[in-house]
């Protein structure tokens, strides 16, 4: 009797269909990523072009659209760092950080406290106060400039960094208050009630329970406040008059006189250098965003 062998090709067909499907999926994914990469590069091209332009002469900057510079001339970086003022760019970087770091710290403390108050407590006058906060968010900055200037002049805070740091200590940055309030509204009160039963008071609940959960929001505050303060031009413009106290935003524009020849490679080189801290902060904070969301404190 002859043994009938199972028709193996049947299994092969299934496998090959699977491999075809799998290969198809890979190809489609590849196409997707290529398109995303292409569009992303296109949108980022101006920034990429800046990098190339920091090595070019004026004539090349204004006539070419291509990225690759004809020569790798680092004088843009050297001269830009030295600047045409009495101080090097290192001084201006330091000044920027002297404004940013205290400001971030006080912003976090004040905004979290204020948001905690609005989100978790009911008190007399809560609704009108919240309306005032919303109203102040709507005010255009221009309206506040001169009155604030006059106020700080009376305090004697002109030409210091206090006009930047002290208002932030009083939760002037309403955007962050809103953000944390919304974040808190999404957190169920179970753990706080448990902690209350265990004997925590309001501040202890905030510190031990809520702040770890609020990490993503706090990281967002750090990133946004860092970038906005780094880019703030009008504030330092009117409050600071000593060149030694200028932050980067003012120092970058110091070589742009109205009728004078500007060596654009210097300005562009320093702009790129000034971008680096913001980029570093943003990319290192991304990790914490994801961590914070993935390891949420509420279980079950």
């Amino acid at each position: 009797m002859t043994t009938a062998t199972l028709p193996l090709p049947q299994y092969d067909k299934t496998e090959s269909r699977l491999t075809v499907k799998y290969r198809g999926k890979k190809v489609r994914a590849l196409i997707r990523y290529l398109i995303l990469l292409g569009v992303g590069l296109l949108m980022m091209y101006p920034l990429v072009w800046l990098l190339g332009a920091s090595f070019k002469t004026n004539m090349q900057i204004f006539s070419e659209m291509g990225f690759w510079p004809q020569q790798f001339d680092f004088t843009g970086y050297i001269q830009g760092w030295k600047t045409s003022s009495e101080y090097t760019f290192a001084r201006y970087f330091l000044n920027s950080f002297m404004i940013i770091i205290p400001r971030i710290i006080v912003t976090i403390v004040s905004c979290v406290l204020v948001a905690y108050g609005f989100a978790r407590f009911d008190f007399w006058f809560k609704k009108p106060l919240f309306a005032v906060v919303v109203g102040s968010f709507m005010l255009p900055q221009v309206v506040l400039r001169v009155p604030q200037y006059l106020m700080f002049k009376q305090f004697g805070w002109l030409d210091t960094y206090l006009p930047f740091i002290v208002p932030s200590a009083f939760a002037i940055d309403v955007f962050f208050v809103f953000m944390v309030v919304q974040f808190l509204r999404g957190i169920p009160r179970d753990m706080e009630e448990a902690a209350q039963i265990d004997g925590c008071n309001a501040l202890q609940i905030l510190w031990y329970i809520l702040v770890p959960i609020l990490k993503p929001a706090i990281i967002s505050i750090v990133v946004f406040q860092f970038i906005w303060t780094m880019n703030d031009f009008m504030g330092p413009l009117i409050y600071l008059s000593t060149v030694a106290k200028y932050p980067i935003s003012l120092a970058l524009k110091m070589s742009l006189g109205a009728t004078e020849e500007v060596r654009w490679a210097n300005v562009i080189a320093m702009s790129i250098v000034a971008l680096i801290p913001s980029l570093l902060v943003f990319f290192s904070a991304q990790k914490y965003f994801i961590e914070g969301i993935a390891t949420s404190g509420i279980k079950g």
């Binding site: 900057i61 204004f62 524009k253």
Partner: protein, 426 residues
Amino acid sequence: MKTSVKKLLVVVFAIGFVAQVAWAADTELRFSWWGGDTRHKPTLEAIKLFEAANPGVKIKAEYMGWGGYTERLATQISGANEPDITQINWAWISTMFSKKGDGFYDLYKAKDVLKLDEWGPNINYGVRNGKLNAIPVSFTSRFYLWQKNTLEKVGIAIPKNWDELFAAGKAFEKLGPEYYPIDGVYYDVFLMSHAYLMQKTGKQWIDPDTDTVILTKAEALDWVKFYKKLSETRAVVPHKLRLSIAPPEAPTEQQQQWVTGQWAGNYTWDSTFKVRMSSLPKTTACDLGEFLSIPNPKNIGFFARPTMMFAVSRNSKNPIIGAKFINFLLTDPDAVKVLSNTRGIPMAKSSYDLLAKEGLFTDLDMKALAQLKKAKIDPPSAWLESARIQELLRSIFETVSLGKSTDEEAVDRLINETNQVLKSIQ
């Protein structure tokens, strides 16, 4: 602590305090200016020279780029906190800070430390209601700057009058649709047509004596038609085309067409010649053209005014020293040698002579000065440079260039709406 020790400590602290106050006898004046890399270093050196010549006086330098300078100064003045000596624009005196003439310290009170004859009748640029608000530093006017290479390619000479300019427009077309004789920045084209208005009628849009518009409808219509003719005959880059390439305020030297010579000419301040030529390849030769005009003009139509001025704050605690400092910067030979032409060609006679002797004026500078000397200069109304009027003229002429308003509507706005705006802002 025993009473005697306490008393001793009090005495020691008191002496220390008084000594501190006595030590702080250095008078400090704040001096602010705007500029770029080439201006900051020489000015800091000149300040050091002044401090060396005047022991006990310290000048605190508060400098920055142009961007934001007006806003900062306006905020400081509104808070009575402006620097003792400031660099200001000529138009700011009558339109912003010193409408009644008392916005700045009256420098006539300091005439013992100021060599006022150096400026002669030009000192009047800084006078408002009989008070000397500021001293002019340098003078600038608009001229026609041409790239000779492109003109040679077309085979024509630099246009000497309007007809030759229109002919050039036609000739440039032969080189290609990208080629135009003059870069048509809308404000430049406005000023070119304004020069025509002055040449034809002898009047300016905003009359400097009355600060109102005294044009007749016919004169304004002629003006608007000439403005349109400049684009229609391809004499200037049409506004629509330029807008599609760059923002309206984009400087000429940053445009690719200027760098490659496709746009051959520019109607610009003589203080910006260097900037315009800074992005050109070394092989491009530039020259000054004749001031374009009609034959037998009523007024040649130069748009000329002080580039910048130095003023002393009315809240300054040391106005005489401030005036002395201004005099030093503008007339002292050492200071002038250091500052040279970083603020333009100086108006003070001795400084001008000194720099001329050192050979610091380029060929283009000399040609420009020669053109100015031949002409009778009528300063424009300061209101022309005020923000509201600039906005208004831009809106009127942009809509005309883009075909969004008829000539008659433009004429009506140029006369009636302008007078209304002027009345409301004065």
